[in-house]
Symmetry: C2
Subunit: 273 residues, 2 copies
C-alpha cells in the first residue's frame, strides 16, 4: 500500500484520452489543495465507438491501476465509460466512484423549463443514460439525445474554433434547436473545448450545461463532507500535486494537456494497464 | 493447422478498423477466386495517433491470429501499421507480407514529373516512410508529406461527400497545391473514401495515387507468380469466400462494411487478439 497522504490520498480521474482534462481542470480549480492523478487511456482511445463490455473491461483495468496508487476517490471523467461502467466500478471499489452523467443530469433538470437536448458520443446516446438519469429526477421532462461524434476529433485536432467546427455544430445542433430545447447538455467531456462555437450556434435562449463544472462541484461536496467527518483532519495548506498517466504517446499528451491546462506537465508517466 | 485450401489458403488483410476495406475491395476485384480474411482491430482503432512500439505489438498479435487461420499471405492494409510494423512482420512471418506504402510509392514515382505530395495520418507522416520509399526508387524527387487526420473521422462518420469535407480538404490540400505538386498520394487507406471530394479540390492537373489499387495489383502479381511456380495448381473456379473478423462492435462494422462494399456481410466474427 502507498503511504498515507495528509489528505487521505489523491483523487483519481480517469478518461479514455484528453477529454477528461476538462473535468480535471474544474476539480483542480475547486480543490487546489488536493493531489490529483489523471489517467488517460490513450492507447485505446476513443471509447465512444466501442462495445459496453469492452469499455467495462478497460475501466476496471484503469481502476485497479489507480487503486494501487492509493486514490481515495475515483472520478470517471468520460461519459462513455460512465454510461457503460459506473455500476460495475461502484460495485467493485471500496471508495467513492462518481461519474459525469448524474451531475450533468441534475444540473440540466435545475435549469430547464421542460425540454433538454443532450449531445454525446454514439455509445452514450445508445445507452440512453442521460434520459434515464434525467427521468429518475423528473419523469415529465422531454429529453432529446443526439450523437455528435465529429466534435471529438475537432477538439482532439485543435480545430475547435474554426469555421469548419461552426458548420459541423450547425448541422448537429439545428435539429435540436428546431425541436425547441431550452437546455443543452454537453454530454461528452471533449465538448466543453468547443463551447464558444456551440454557444454561437445555439444562441442565448438555450442554457448550456457543462458536466465538467457540475462534476467538480459534486467532487468538492464529497471531499468536504469527508473532512468534516474526520474532524481535526483539515486539508493540507500546500498546493496539491498533479500527476498524469497515459497508456501511449506521452509527448502528444504533454503538448495537448499543456496547452489546454496552460501549465507545464511535469509529472507524466507512461503506464501499461 | 487448418486444412489446406485448393488455393493454398486465404489471403489475410489487416487494418486498424474499416479503412482497409478500400484495399479489401480492390483485392476482391482483382482476385475474385481467392478467399479473403479481413481483420479489423476495431477495439483499438485508430492507430494513427499511437506510438510505433504499440502499433508493432498490435500488428504482431493480429498476424498471429491470421496465421492460426492458415493464411498464405498477409496484406497490411493500414499505412500506420505498414510504416511502424512491416519490417517486424516480414522478419517474423514465413509467408509474404506486403504493406501499402511501397506499392503507393512505386505508383507515384511512375506518375510524377518531379514533385509528390503525400497526405497521411500523423503517425505515418512522422515516420517519413513515404519519403524513404520514394527516395529509395528515385532520390531526386521532391516529396512533401502532410497530416490530414480529420479525413479519417469524416470517412468513418459518413461525411465524405459533404460541404464540410470539401472545406477541410481545401484547408489540408491548398498548401500542397501551392507548393506545386503534380501527384498526390492518398497515404491512408481511409482516404479513397473521400476521393471525389479530394479530386474536386486538387483539380485535374494533379494525378491521384490510391494505394488500395496499387497494393491489389501487387498482391495479384505475387499470387499469380505463386500459381505459375506450382504448375498444375490452378486457382479454384468458384468464387472466393470472404470472412470478416473484428475485435469490437461487430454491428457497427456490419453496417459500415455492408454499405461500403455494397454486399451483405455474412461471415462476421468477433475475435479477441
Amino acid at each position: 500500500m502507498p503511504h498515507a497522504s495528509p489528505n487521505g490520498g489523491p483523487i483519481g480521474i480517469f478518461d479514455s484520452g484528453v477529454g477528461g482534462l476538462t473535468v480535471f481542470r474544474e476539480i483542480a480549480r475547486a480543490l487546489p489543495h488536493e493531489s490529483l492523478i489523471y489517467l488517460g487511456d490513450s492507447a485505446r482511445v476513443p471509447y465512444g465507438t466501442k462495445s459496453p463490455q469492452t469499455v467495462v473491461r478497460y475501466s476496471l483495468e484503469a481502476a485497479n491501476h489507480l487503486l494501487a496508487r492509493g486514490i481515495k476517490m475515483m472520478v470517471v471523467a468520460c461519459n462513455t465509460a460512465t454510461s457503460a461502467a459506473l455500476p460495475a466500478l461502484q460495485e467493485k471499489l471500496q471508495i467513492p466512484v462518481i461519474g459525469v452523467i448524474e451531475p450533468g443530469a441534475r444540473a440540466a433538470v435545475k435549469q430547464t423549463r421542460g425540454k433538454i437536448g443532450v449531445i454525446a458520443t454514439e455509445g452514450t446516446v445508445k445507452s440512453k443514460a442521460y434520459t434515464r438519469a434525467i427521468h429518475a429526477l423528473e419523469p415529465y421532462i422531454n429529453v432529446i439525445e443526439s450523437a455528435a461524434p465529429l466534435f471529438v476529433s475537432l477538439a482532439e485536432e485543435g480545430w475547435a474554433n474554426t469555421h469548419v467546427a461552426r458548420e459541423v455544430a450547425e448541422i448537429y445542433l439545428e435539429p435540436l434547436i428546431d425541436s425547441g430545447i431550452d437546455t443543452l447538455v454537453l454530454g461528452c467531456t471533449h465538448y466543453p473545448i468547443l463551447r464558444p462555437t456551440i454557444e454561437q450556434v445555439v444562441g442565448d435562449q438555450v442554457a448550456i450545461v457543462d458536466s465538467a463544472e457540475t462534476t467538480a462541484e459534486c467532487v468538492r461536496e464529497i471531499v468536504e463532507r469527508d473532512y468534516a467527518r474526520r474532524a481535526g483532519q483539515a486539508p493540507a495548506a500546500t498546493p496539491g500535486v498533479h500527476t498524469f498517466l497515459v497508456t501511449d504517446a506521452e509527448e502528444r499528451f504533454r503538448r495537448i494537456a499543456g496547452e489546454f491546462l496552460e501549465q507545464e506537465i511535469e509529472r507524466l508517466e507512461l503506464v501499461s494497464l
